[in-house]
Symmetry: C3
Subunit: 135 residues, 3 copies
């Protein structure tokens, strides 16, 4: 269901670091938002040095943009963004001051996966049960 898009300059993240960050983001999202890890996507955009600017100058931030379904409880969303941000620095070694995590959302009924409209937050179990019956 969710998609996390991580943007960094090339060579900032090596192959192991990407795999480790993808694993951590997946674990955290799955745990906090009650989604099986099989539904968590993490994508990396690694761009040339002259394609990323902070303060109008070439820079090396780590920008993480997560898309989630609208309607998760606020405390849950706050915990989610905090743990993702902490994991980003912990896994990559990039200091927190260069890490920006943003969560965006749209209504579950505006997303389709596996040919089915996504469930509202809190209704995942019934949705997953139906999916299994189809498989």
């Amino acid at each position: 269901m969710p998609v996390y898009t991580c943007t960094a300059v090339q060579s900032t993240l090596n192959a192991d670091t990407k795999a480790n960050l993808a694993a951590e983001v997946t674990r955290i999202h799955s745990m906090i938002n009650h989604v099986p890890s099989a539904y968590v996507n993490v994508v990396f955009h690694e761009l040339p040095p002259d394609a990323v600017y902070t303060d109008g100058q070439p820079a090396q931030p780590l920008l993480i943009n997560g898309w989630v379904r609208t309607g998760h409880p606020e405390a849950q969303s706050s915990q989610l963004v905090a743990e993702i941000a902490a994991a980003a620095s912990r896994v990559t070694g990039i200091p927190a001051k260069r890490v920006l995590v943003v969560i965006q959302n749209s209504p579950a009924h505006l997303a389709i996966e596996g040919g089915r409209v996504l469930p509202e937050p809190g209704e995942e179990e019934a949705w997953l049960r139906e999916q299994k019956e189809v498989d």
Copy 2:
């Protein structure tokens, strides 16, 4: 007006498939959301195999993110996302279980094209007429 961003691992989509998917997404959006096809943008991000993860493992999903103006009727938006998702599998041959389509939106007045603020949904005709008078 809209922008559809398709993300896949390199070699998942060949040149013909990309062109065909762009054409189908354009046709569907134009028909359902009443926007001339000249205003529909489709972008492909094709990433290395170690840049896309599902369930914490390298994977080959097709992730489609569409941006549309806020305010389309709900039934129209539901039809839009359903038809885009169906077309994605039909055109690419990627099974539905690996396809995720998400529609995001923001208010028309927060978008500018051709130097003019976008029209609210339903007000496209007057906007397009004015555009023609300028051309």
Copy 3:
């Protein structure tokens, strides 16, 4: 805090143009939304010619997507998008009819930078003061 993502076909923008556009977007955002320029990020995605379509055909638009915190006054947001769009054409030489600027947003409490939840619009000064005390 904000992230502006500019998408264009490769060779549309040379190195100088990217640097100049990043500088202008940063200056404009900082001035209008009252954020120090050190917090403005600009990213460029430069894609192959067969990866960008308008009207179902390969095309060369300049697509700019900005993420900002929810809650800025509406007049401020309108000015922001207008000045970004004008700057995009002025700096790159790409005619306005091929430029699309879209601003998206999500609540400040769903974003973390420098290890801290972002301030609501209007509360930047206190947030920045606290940041300085930490540094």
